[in-house]
């Protein structure tokens, strides 16, 4: 998995699978939300997402951070829909 950010947009390529991926995503987003109340996360390739990442994103919403999750893979969209997270995490199909 690789991650990059520009302004308040985080772009993730590769599969989100390992615990270390969650730690990298958290570190990147934590830096952004120090100066911004909103963050747009683009997940361009991943077919899965770890529960730790879901927990972290849910907590951001609870803290009042505006998040948008732009997801490209249909399988991941279906998975997030099955998990009832589309509305909470403001998920959009890319």
């Amino acid at each position: 998995m690789e991650i990059s950010s520009s302004s308040n947009i985080v772009t993730i390529t590769g599969n989100i699978k390992a615990l270390s991926h969650y730690e990298t995503i958290k570190r990147e987003i934590d830096t952004i939300i120090e100066n911004s109340s909103s963050v747009k996360i683009k997940i361009l390739e991943s077919i899965s997402i770890t529960s730790s990442t879901i927990g972290y994103l849910c907590k951001l919403v609870d803290k009042g951070v505006n998040i948008e999750l732009h997801v490209k893979n249909d399988g991941l969209i279906h998975l997030l829909d099955d998990l009832n997270l589309i509305s909470l995490l403001n998920i959009k199909k890319v």
Partner: protein, 384 residues
């Protein structure tokens, strides 16, 4: 210290490899009082055989001997035991021989002719290295024993908490209820409970703690323990079972026990034959699949976001039980495992396999045929 070392000597077996009969006799006289057992060989080949036949702790060998010389024998012995102390007796000190001896980790050299005092000095050094090795091995062995003990007792604990009232009977109303629980580690984030409340009511809980390892397992076990306690209370007091009350109580219980970012995914299903309904609350779990009396497979999707320390509200929906013929609920370890030789997960196949399978055995065969390498904990409960 000296007395301690001499006690250690008496626990060790020595192998003496020497082609001169007189020297062998000197070794026997000297070592039989010091060591537990003295084994002798008259050349390198015989020395190797004695080493293989006996439990040898230390070796003294002459370099120059017929058949295998001391180094050739040591090379073979090192293939079997890389650390046994080997003392080489020689009058030669050629560069080639020394180089090879260093590569073979020969413990020390003894120049012929040698005195008893020089021999003891070298032996004492070798025995100290044996003591260190033994201490390390003892410590490792204790760690392994402790770890095995911990794993055993932890798994026994998990088995108590992961309670299944239908383990033997396997009957949930008119269904056969089977569970497959294949954790990757002793401490798994997956846990489940199947409780018979009375003849007409059953409760199923399947939980998947966030992340992996001990934290996820502790949370899953806490939830399971609490739910068991709560259900027991309801049964003992003959209270009417209410999923709403259970969830309310669980939220209050679990809130102070979760980490800031921790979430919990879980199925809660209350089967009630009196009302012919299943009340369910699903918190970000893979969908429950079910079939009515047609060929169609339906999904019971999550009606709640994950359980978190800040969860205040929840939704309970109802499914009618009357036409239900088959149902499966599972943690994400099942559907997220990758299918062999492909780039897709088992999620693509689960619906099809569920439709085909008429028993847990059939479903297990279909799923394990596709998932050869289990990447995550697998737990599922199948009603057929």
């Amino acid at each position: 210290m000296k007395s301690y070392i001499s006690d250690i000597y008496k626990t060790l077996n020595i192998l003496c490899v020497e082609d001169e009969k007189e020297t062998i006799q000197i070794y026997k006289n000297m070592f039989s009082m010091m060591f537990k057992e003295v084994h002798c060989a008259k050349n390198g080949l015989e020395g190797l055989e004695r080493f293989k036949e006996n439990e040898i702790d230390i070796i003294i060998t002459r370099y120059k001997m017929p058949k295998y010389n001391g180094l050739q024998m040591s090379k073979k012995i090192r293939e079997i035991d890389p650390s046994i102390p080997i003392i080489m007796v020689t009058s030669l000190k050629s560069i080639e021989m020394l180089t090879e001896a260093i590569e073979l980790h020969i413990t020390n050299f003894l120049k012929r002719p040698f005195t008893q005092s020089s021999l003891l000095t070298i032996f004492n050094q070798a025995v100290k290295s044996i003591i260190v090795d033994r201490c390390i091995m003892k410590e490792q062995s204790q760690k392994i024993t402790y770890s095995n003990y911990q794993e055993g007792i932890t798994f026994a604990k998990e088995k108590i908490i992961t309670k299944n009232d239908l383990e033997e009977e396997e009957k949930l109303l008119h269904f056969t209820c089977n569970t497959v629980y294949k954790p990757k580690d002793i401490l798994s984030g997956d846990s489940y409970i199947i409780r018979k409340i009375n003849e007409e009511e059953y409760f199923i809980f399947l939980v998947d703690g966030m992340g992996k390892g001990i934290s996820a397992s502790v949370t899953a076990m806490l939830c399971s323990s609490f739910i068991n306690y709560y259900v027991n209370l309801q049964i003992e007091n003959k209270n009417e079972f209410s999923l709403h009350s259970l969830l309310g109580a669980l939220l209050k219980f679990i809130e102070p026990n979760l980490l800031e970012y921790e979430v919990l995914c879980a199925h809660f299903l209350h089967f009630n034959n009196n009302t012919k309904t299943i009340d369910y609350a699903i918190f970000s779990m893979p969908p429950v699949l079910y079939m009515l009396n047609t060929d169609e497979v339906y999904k019971l999707k999550s009606n709640n976001t994950p359980l978190a320390p800040y969860t205040k509200k929840f939704t309970i929906d109802t499914l009618h039980l009357e036409k239900l013929t088959k149902m499966i609920m599972y943690s994400d370890g099942l559907n997220e495992n990758m299918v062999d030789d492909s780039e897709v997960s088992y999620a693509q196949y689960i619906k099809e396999d569920f439709k085909k399978a008429n028993s847990v055995k059939e479903f297990e065969e279909l799923s394990t045929h596709k998932i050869k390498e289990q990447e995550d904990d697998i737990t599922y409960i199948l009603l057929t």
